[in-house]
Amino acid sequence: MKRAGLKHKYFASIAFVVALMVLAVPILAQQGEIAAGRVAGAQAARASTNGTMWFAAGCLFGWLGLLVAYVIQPNPPATMLLGKSPEYVAAYTDSYRMTARGVQTGRAWTGCIVGTIVQVVGYVLLVAAAEATY
């Protein structure tokens, strides 16, 4: 009797573990798709965003260049979304947008700061030169 009860518990726990695995596999697969989409989106955004151009925009046009860096966002390449799951597409587009904007605004800020420093130094030198003259 006791042996039969143990056997029953044994099979019940196996069934429970199997049920958990069956439920967990799609969730894990989804998580994998999301992670893969995030990584690929970030990589593609870094590869396609021209940091030098945004640095120059910030440097030359100051706050205007910075503003444009916040407004303009490069389109995700359609080819990279072909045959991908909805989870992947959602993660890819989010990640692509965030990374591209991060690179653009980061470089534009750096350019803006460098441009401002150059202008201030130039102004100080001009003032000093003018004072030395008079």
Partner: protein
């Protein structure tokens, strides 16, 4: 960035020019991508309608419909009953169709967008022509090399403005379409900051200027579908 600018310029230059000749295109495709040891294969059909509309029906590995219409890209999953609509201020590039539109030109459409021939050389049967980008766009576009054998395009290489190769493609299995030799197989190596990707694309059943099916021309999302709107 450089590839995107170049593809869009080529696409629009060519679309405008070929509008009379290429109203619609239909093709079946198989795209195999090998990257970091993993391989993925996507199969499906593409329907193009001039000037800027593309309907892609992916059949493998999942059911997916991608509709590009200018600055709007709709991605629909009939099985999952989900959809994304991405709206952008800029136009989306059109997968696969760009290849056909480009090959329809003798010089890959480079002259039209301001590229100039800088030199040429012959190696074996292949004539290589080297092209410089237009002056105004030198900061964004790099040099281009085309290889032709017996008047047929067999090789193309694009570099970035720093002179580094970003994509190398070889073309094979040519068939005649509207008087031009079109390659049914394209093998590409793509180099970017994250590494090297190999891409093999094969086309079949390519048809030009055919009436497109109604499911394509009057495609509409079912009302019950939840759409994630993404303003780009």
């Amino acid at each position: 960035m450089h590839i995107i600018i170049l593809s869009l310029m080529l696409a629009f230059g060519l679309v405008a020019d070929e509008a009379q000749k290429l109203d619609t295109i239909f093709l079946k495709f198989e795209r195999k991508v090998v990257r970091s040891g993993s391989t993925e294969i996507v199969k499906g059909r593409a329907y193009y309608q001039s000037p800027q509309k593309l309907f892609v029906e992916v059949q493998e590995p999942i059911d997916q419909i991608m509709l590009i219409d200018g600055g709007v890209m709709l991605i629909y999953y009939p099985v999952e009953q989900k959809a994304f609509r991405i709206k952008s201020k800029a136009l989306f590039s059109m997968p696969f169709i760009q290849a056909i539109l480009s090959v329809m030109k003798d010089d890959y459409g480079l002259t039209e967008i301001g590229y100039t021939l800088s030199k040429h050389e012959k190696k074996g049967d292949t004539l290589y022509t080297h092209w410089n980008p237009p002056r105004k766009l030198k900061k964004h576009l790099g040099k281009f090399t085309l290889g032709t054998a017996n008047g047929v395009l067999v090789y193309a290489e694009a570099r970035n403005p720093k002179g580094k190769t970003v994509v190398k493609s070889s073309f094979s299995k040519h068939v005649e379409l509207a008087g031009k030799q079109f390659p049914l197989e394209v093998r590409s190596e793509i180099f970017d900051k994250s590494g090297r990707t190999e891409e093999f694309v094969s086309y079949s059943d390519v048809k030009l200027n055919i009436p497109l099916p109604e499911k394509v021309t009057s495609f509409k999302l079912p009302d019950s579908i939840r759409v994630d709107e993404v303003e780009w």
